[in-house]
Symmetry: C2
Subunit: 109 residues, 2 copies
């Protein structure tokens, strides 16, 4: 029911950020670990991390000079729920249509 789906979906619309998520579901990681596989300059990359955190998809704590990020499962579930609701609605509609079609067949027999 809560609505930061805007930020969430915007966050995972970017391939770099989806890659970060795919890494983080394996477990927490530091900024440089996350950055390593990506070409771009660190400050650019940090902006992506910022978006993820802003969307509530990721949390982070800094200890000493290293910041460790971990994923937050709840928003993933919320977004999945929204998608699932839409698909559910759509398929309920298909069912109704099919029922209607069958009823019509009976009549015309």
């Amino acid at each position: 029911m809560d609505n930061n789906l805007d930020l969430f979906f915007a966050a995972i619309a970017d391939p770099t950020r989806r890659a970060v998520v795919e890494r983080l579901v394996e477990g927490p990681a530091s900024v440089s670990e996350l950055h390593a596989p990506h070409q771009m300059a660190l400050p650019s990359f940090m902006k992506h991390l910022g978006k993820l955190e802003e969307a509530g998809l990721v949390r982070s704590v800094k200890s000493g000079r290293v910041r460790t990020l971990h994923i937050e499962a709840a928003p993933l579930a919320d977004a999945e729920a929204w998608l699932n609701r839409q698909r559910g609605q759509w398929s309920r509609r298909l069912d109704r249509l099919q029922a209607l079609a069958e009823a019509n067949e009976e009549v015309s027999q």
Copy 2:
């Protein structure tokens, strides 16, 4: 496995466009029907419809002067699958951690 998740997630990151999707899962509708509940000017609104179609979430056919849009279920399912994979991975990790913790308890008893 196909990867237009970029466009798909970007498409549903916007509240106007999510509202359109929520309407379209109830059944097809014309441009003006879809536009009616929204404040914005029609050309602005049409850009949103364009994004949805570009993302493959929506198809449309024009007959006479009215264009009718309907939703395409497959991309919804693909996106849901991606989210579900991430959550799955994350919870598998939690399970491993818990197993580890329990193993440790046994040792220390």
